[in-house]
């Protein structure tokens, strides 16, 4: 009798596991691993994805999760080739991060064609949830509309009502300038002029001099990375800020502030959705992240990768399969989002993840008490106001 019971128990256990087959998930982190954007995304995003998997604890959900990484070198053709290879040969289920808008748009097309999932953290173009929106793509961390509105509105409100733009001469720069100029004019401000500079400009002094003589109160930097750093560094030298004009960094990351140094960057106003030193949860997470990335500080892109991967795994656990990308994305939209870094939030039908944004100001050197202590929060922009209203996006999925 006892033998029979134990046999039955074993059988039940066996059937039980057979009925609940293990779900395999493969996550591909694709970004710029060695170039210009390697610090804001790069290997740090891989670390963030690993932390998300650890916190999710796949074994407890009968899942097995594997992470792979690749370098798209900021080239759309390289990016879409990797995406195809990953989906067709390596059986990757979801691609995460992908900074550089042109690459992200290319990867979004491939993902839709293969019915997989694409979680954007590093790219900025708001087109990803606008005309180019896709049922397989979720735009997580930030976008150009949010940057323009956060910084633009705040500065006009505090008296910065005349603007001069230094704009990087390519799609991203034009979009950022267009969005910001619209915000400035709508808030009653005026755009006095603009100068378009080539990508990767070493010397900004000519442009700065033009901006200086325009007498605009705010100089808007519609560029990124090395261009923004050079402009601000040389702006300090030419006495721009000392002369009463103010820089508005429209896309500045915490890594850019570190490479400028507080002495040069102080006073700069910018918008981000996450900062490592904002609360205890963020600090605790940063500590874990730094165990693998010593001496560096995570950017909002890293935090976004963590948050997106965690929510994705929850959705897969609910649908019990990662095979149908559209179904997983629908599940992600149905589930409210919650994690320690972005708190509670949601995902809109157009694929836009909604959470608050923060207006930061860079501290003075004497205010900074430890490495990485660089921002003070000047304002919180509510989740509902931080991103473009869904009706203005022209996303075909929503309008039809």
């Amino acid at each position: 009798m006892r033998v029979a019971t134990s046999l039955a128990l074993v059988a039940a256990a066996l059937f039980g596991t057979a009925a609940q087959a293990q779900v395999n998930v493969k996550i591909g982190v694709m970004n710029d691993m060695s170039g210009l954007y390697a610090d804001i995304s790069g290997p740090g995003a891989l670390t963030a994805a690993k932390l998300a998997v650890d916190d999710f604890n796949p074994a407890a959900h009968g899942m097995k999760v594997e992470i792979v990484g690749a370098d798209h070198q900021n080239k759309p053709d390289v990016g879409s080739n990797i995406a195809r290879q990953w989906f067709d040969v390596d059986k990757v289920d979801v691609i995460v991060d992908v900074p550089t808008s042109s690459v992200a748009l290319a990867v979004s097309d491939v993902t839709r064609e293969k019915n997989k999932v694409f979680l954007v953290s590093g790219a900025a173009a708001s087109d990803l949830t606008g005309p180019k929106c896709s049922p397989n793509t979720i735009h997580w961390t930030y976008d150009t509309w949010m940057l323009a509105h956060g910084t633009g509105t705040a500065l006009v409100k505090t008296g910065g009502d005349t603007w001069y733009f230094l704009t990087a001469d390519y799609a991203f720069g034009h979009a950022l300038e267009r969005d910001t100029a619209a915000v400035v004019t709508a808030a009653g401000g005026k755009v006095l002029g603009t100068v378009k500079h080539p990508l990767n400009t070493q010397d900004f002094s000519s442009f700065l001099l033009q901006a200086q003589s325009s007498k605009a109160k705010v100089i808007g930097l519609a560029n990124a990375g090395g261009d923004t750093i050079n402009a601000i560094k040389q702006g300090a030298e030419f006495g721009i800020t000392a002369g009463g004009q103010q820089f508005a960094g429209l896309l500045v990351f915490v890594t850019d502030v570190n490479s400028l140094g507080l002495k040069t960057a102080q006073g700069l106003v910018l918008t981000e959705t996450w900062y490592w030193d904002m609360n205890d949860a963020n600090r605790a997470w940063t500590k874990r992240w730094q165990a693998e990335r010593q001496g560096k500080f995570p950017s909002m892109v890293h935090a976004g990768v963590y948050s997106a991967v965690l929510h994705y795994l929850k959705a897969v656990a609910a649908t019990k399969s990662a095979a149908d990308g559209k179904a997983v994305v629908n599940q992600m939209k149905a589930l409210p989002t919650e994690d320690s870094l972005f708190g509670k939030g949601s995902i809109r039908p157009d694929g836009r993840k909604i959470h608050p944004a923060y207006l930061f100001q860079v501290k003075k050197p004497e205010e900074s008490k430890y490495p990485g202590d660089v921002y003070t929060v000047r304002a919180t922009i509510l989740a509902e106001e931080a991103f473009r209203p869904i009706k203005d996006g022209n996303c075909p999925m929503v309008t039809n």
């Binding site: 210009l36 954007y37 080539p198 090395g226 030419f238």
Partner: protein, 295 residues
């Protein structure tokens, strides 16, 4: 007050001066390239990486030992020059008798490796380096605000360029060097150690790149890719001036800085390409460059 094509003269003077300042970096870098090519027939593609190493060396000295800008201005070119001399001894010496292209590929490969190493250790977003205390601030010239540091850059690089030109074209040592380029066997017969002279010359050219790096650190972003951003322009400057011509490199460096500066006023979008358009025109009309001699 008068206007040129709708641009007030004051603004124009400002831009001319700024162009001259940028031109001094072009001149310093292309001068090093011209010395190396003119004397050793090596197309030194590592030059950009060596310029970047100069800026990083200044940054590392400041961070780890507290040594500031002024001592760096002396120490860094010597250190970078010594590294260059080492590269010459270990690599370039072995391919001396081969075609130019081998040297080009070797130095290009070295540049990629050096850049990759720095990116691996220091990341891609750059390091902070401030303007030295004594040169902070600036003065109002009436038509523009000139930062003191920029004034220093223009004066100092002009001096370095002149001194180099004088040393090579007008001194006894320079004449040995030029003779050694023409006919190494004969010069060696006079009891002059030609290989050592070659090593030192390469080291000197590389030292000039290091010096330019230190001078650039306070105003440009000190990042691993700063060299590859500028090296292509500098090569265009050397080609326009005439490969290997010392005076050509100096004069074209300053002139093209001014041309680029003016482009930034009248048609900013083209400011990255204007130098290459000039290069094409010069190559069509005078293939040996403005100051070059036909081979």
């Amino acid at each position: 007050m008068f206007e040129v094509f709708g641009v007030p003269s004051q603004a124009l003077f400002g831009q001319l001066l700024l162009g001259l300042i940028n031109g001094s970096f072009y001149a310093l870098l292309s001068l090093g390239l011209a010395v190396i090519f003119g004397m050793l027939n090596i197309i030194n593609f590592t030059h950009g990486a060596q310029y970047m190493m100069g800026a990083f060396a200044a940054f590392l000295l400041l961070r780890h030992t507290g040594i500031g800008y002024w001592p760096s201005l002396v120490i860094v070119p010597i250190v970078i020059g010594a590294v260059g001399a080492g590269i010459e001894r270990v690599f370039l010496k072995r391919i001396q008798k081969l075609d130019h292209l081998y040297g080009l590929i070797l130095t290009f490969g070295l540049a990629l490796i050096i850049e990759g190493l720095f990116r691996n250790y220091y990341g891609s977003s750059g390091q902070p380096y401030g303007v030295p205390e004594s040169l902070q601030g600036g003065r109002n010239l009436g038509f523009m605000f000139l930062p003191n540091y920029r004034a220093w850059v223009i004066a100092f690089s002009f001096l370095v360029c002149l001194a180099t030109w004088y040393a090579i074209e007008r001194t006894r040592l320079g004449s040995y060097l030029r003779a050694a380029t023409e006919n190494p066997a004969l010069v060696r017969a006079f009891g002059i150690n030609v290989p050592r002279m070659v090593t030192l010359t390469y080291g000197f050219g590389v030292g000039l790149a290091g010096l330019a790096g230190v001078m650039a650190a306070p105003i440009y972003n000190v990042s691993p890719q700063m060299g590859s951003d500028i090296i292509i322009v500098v090569f265009a400057v050397v080609v326009i001036g005439g490969m290997g011509s010392i005076m050509g490199a100096i004069v074209t460096g300053f002139t093209l800085g001014i041309v680029e500066g003016l482009t930034k006023v009248f048609f900013p979008e083209a400011s990255n390409t204007v130098i290459f358009m000039i290069m094409i025109i010069v190559l069509l009309i005078r293939p040996a460059g403005l100051f070059g001699r036909m081979a």
